[in-house]
Amino acid sequence: MIGIGKTAFGAFPDRDIRSLAVEAIGNAIEDSSVRPGRIEAFYLGNFAGPSFVGQNHLAPYIGMAAGLSPGIPCTRIEDACASSGSAFFHAWQSVAAGIYDVALVAGVEKMTSQPTPKVTEILAGAGDMSGEGLAGATFPALFAMIARRHMYQYGTTREHLAAVAVKNHANGAKNPLAHMRKVVTLEQVLAGKPIAEPLTLYDCSLVSDGAAALLLAPLDRAHEFTSRFVRVLGVAQTSDHVPLDQKDDITTFGAVRTAGEKAYAMAGLGPRDIELAELHDCFTIAEIVASEDLDFVAKGDGGPFAAAGCTAINGKIPINTSGGLKSKGHPVGATGVGQICDVVMQLRGDAGERQVARHRTGLAQNLGGSGATCVVTILGVR
């Protein structure tokens, strides 16, 4: 990883999807000092540009505007909220296989130009629209059903869920690129407007605009571009059924568990070696379930673990020091690459007042839909 670049996440009525992506790509190019002409392939993660802003054919549309060479492949990848995690995985494969020396990965989403009910409808398309979607299951509803079952099986409480929101808002309030830089209290979260019981507005991530980008090169050439490169120690992408009612146990994400196992094995590391993590907190319950599936804590104990402060910046395993999707924002297609950029900032020691004390190894976990795609990436510095 030889360069990273992000835009702020937020609601930007004056910005279009192309200008957001071009800004993030420009920042990544500047960070790495790679000339745009050296880039040999471009992978773009985007969930629903065609639905949100009516624009298809996004990869060359953005790639050419960013000054990439017309002679290279520009490809858009869609895997719901894991679109840019998936784009990263495919770019990494190409570089690791020796096909390209410099590959660009970006993610972008422009969501705030649509009214909330329309956004809810477009997002529901990441589920099974012939089954759960037809019945009226929104994404908050699917994760609410996961939360209910987790509460039933493991005794997780409403306060445990709220603790995740409080912690992530506290972190995001210190992140200059976060969408909602606002501290919230436990009482505010519990009294929040109901969205899908037991989840309130404060359990849900934000509808945001934004983009993130990064550049990859083979390890033996990384020093040609920067002295501050970060190594990809392990990465895996996995899949599962799209409809929630086809999973045996909805209190665990099989795709997360498997992606974690594969990434840990590739890195030759275990969960105790990870010093910070960005987890996919599209809803508060999702962070709790992922922290269990990645073995940071035993199955069922994720709620009390979060409520005890173990996942805070100064905790046992700091989770979502960026503020997470909850406070930093969740421009769906940008989220996977955005998480990786946030881990890289911590590993380089560039996270400012959010900087964690030990930062040699970090993990990013990007989830698509209600668990049908997962990408886990483990990064490290020497």
């Binding site: 019945a135 009226g136 899908a196």
Partner: protein, 74 residues
């Protein structure tokens, strides 16, 4: 509705009440959704009518409306 089989009865595996619906179901909210463990062995996502249900409650299939199974507490 023709083509859809009666799923039979079952028990609530999980449930939620939706307060923020997608555009198409704005008039229905709040409504209760459940994943039902059918006695036939599989699971089905459907709507609950009449009184609210909790995990473990027995439910009886009522009817299909626009391809969606509706259940009620038995």
């Amino acid at each position: 509705m023709s083509g859809l089989r009666d799923p039979g009865d079952g028990a609530v595996y999980t449930e939620t009440v939706v307060w923020a619906p997608p555009q198409a179901y704005a008039a229905d909210a709040p409504y209760q959704l459940a994943i039902v463990d059918l006695d036939a062995g599989n699971r089905l996502t459907g709507r609950i009518i009449d009184s609210r249900v909790r995990i473990g409650d027995r439910v009886r299939f009522f009817e299909y409306r626009n391809g969606v199974a509706y259940f009620r507490k038995s």
